[in-house]
Symmetry: C2
Subunit: 250 residues, 2 copies
């Protein structure tokens, strides 16, 4: 089948937040991300675009084979794997569903798509099923966030809240608390807080401004023996997420 | 002072491995990286380039103030901080110096500059002072590696070895061993190996090929409850490095 010009224009528009908002669609790129998409929500796929010799993992939507020059005009990566999928953006999670995770990971205005994607896939790898976000966080379904997240977004339950206050209230209503704000400079030593992951809310802050203020919340920090403050949001989140794994499995 | 055309051409050449090799120089960009450079090896700085209003942190070399258009023609980043430094590349570490680290972190052909830089600064943050590399690893002083590493390279002792075998032999000669190969798929559970950091050698493998084979070495892995294999070399290294911090401080 031929990929119509209108579809090509549509696809290119999905690399902007405006284009995604207007159409309600997003674009997943690469074998891993498209694979996650097809495994998690195959019905959401509208169509695939691929190079000759490349096939989508599931036959759940029309497949358009295009030439290298057309493909590279549609792709955001330089050395892509020759596979793209256009899919409907998942509706925001129903905030009345009872969360099942042992603790909640919240991102407060994490704006870098690479950090967001890395945190999302690391959270999934660690066994979490949800991610709670405040307004001002990056679009989880932007192309960069999906690439960095390897499409893990499609199988995580992502909830949205106006701010940290309303996020904490919603968590409390489900019996989650206290709220721990992760802080690069001050707070209790992560390794000394015994109940850090016991039905708590762990908040990772934005790269620039750090985590916001929240009355009644405590701060927790990663000890840094080398005296070189250098962990970005994704590195810090990885340490917090796998300390939870350690406590669970050792 | 005016930045001569020859110096501009030289500076631009430093964004290629060939240019760095030919001149023995490298370029550090941004306030943090340049700050680390000036703190660690001020004598290595040849000159600074900055936008009006920006100053280097130390007066250790000539400063050239240039216009925005000249600066952006010399910079590899789009929204830079208006500060560059050209410096002599540190000579390879003297491999006869006795290492002082409690365990050794080795990178086996880690080729991605972003991963390398992140691992370098996280290693420094965790308190290590050395990084051991095999041939095939990325140039530690390339501009991308320096940006990702925030210039931590300038204060770490970086040793080079032809391959994993000769690296292990050198480590053994200093009394370090056994060698643990970190593996995404198999091996002992990181959280169950009691003497993982006791005068051992911990090897992080390349992104594509993984860690090489080495007779007599054991494998260690990160448990992944979410069944989503998604940790890149930098995330995995972060988990290993901060598990060492945890054992030291709790």
């Amino acid at each position: 089948m031929n990929l119509a010009r209108a579809q090509q224009t549509l696809l290119r528009s999905l690399y902007t937040r405006h284009g995604r908002k207007k159409s309600g669609l997003c674009v997943a790129e690469g074998i891993r991300s498209v694979g996650e998409l097809c495994a998690a929500i195959p019905d959401a796929v509208e169509f695939f675009v691929c190079l000759p010799g490349v096939r989508p993992p599931v036959d759940c939507a029309p497949v358009y084979e295009v030439s290298e020059s057309v493909f590279s005009s549609l792709s955001a990566t330089v050395n892509g794997q020759g596979l793209l999928a256009v899919a409907r953006i998942p509706a925001p999670a129903d905030n009345s569903i009872v969360p099942m995770d042992p603790y909640l990971l919240a991102l407060d205005r994490v704006g870098d798509p690479g950090n967001f994607g890395t945190i999302c896939r690391t959270a999934k790898a660690s066994g979490l099923q949800e991610l709670w976000l405040t307004t001002g966080s990056v679009d989880p379904y932007g192309d960069k966030a999906l690439r960095a997240g390897l499409g893990s977004q499609f199988s995580m339950r992502i909830r949205f809240f106006a701010d940290l206050q309303s996020l904490a209230e919603a968590a409390n209503a489900f019996g989650y608390g206290p709220v721990w704000l992760t802080d690069p400079h001050q707070g209790e030593n992560l390794y000394h807080v015994e109940d850090l992951y016991r039905k708590s809310v762990l908040v990772i802050g934005s790269e620039g401004a750090g985590v916001g203020e929240l009355a009644g919340a405590s701060r927790v920090t990663i000890p840094m023996p080398g005296n070189f403050e250098s962990l970005n949001a994704a590195q810090a989140a990885t340490i917090f997420l796998f300390e939870a794994v350690r406590r669970q499995f050792s």
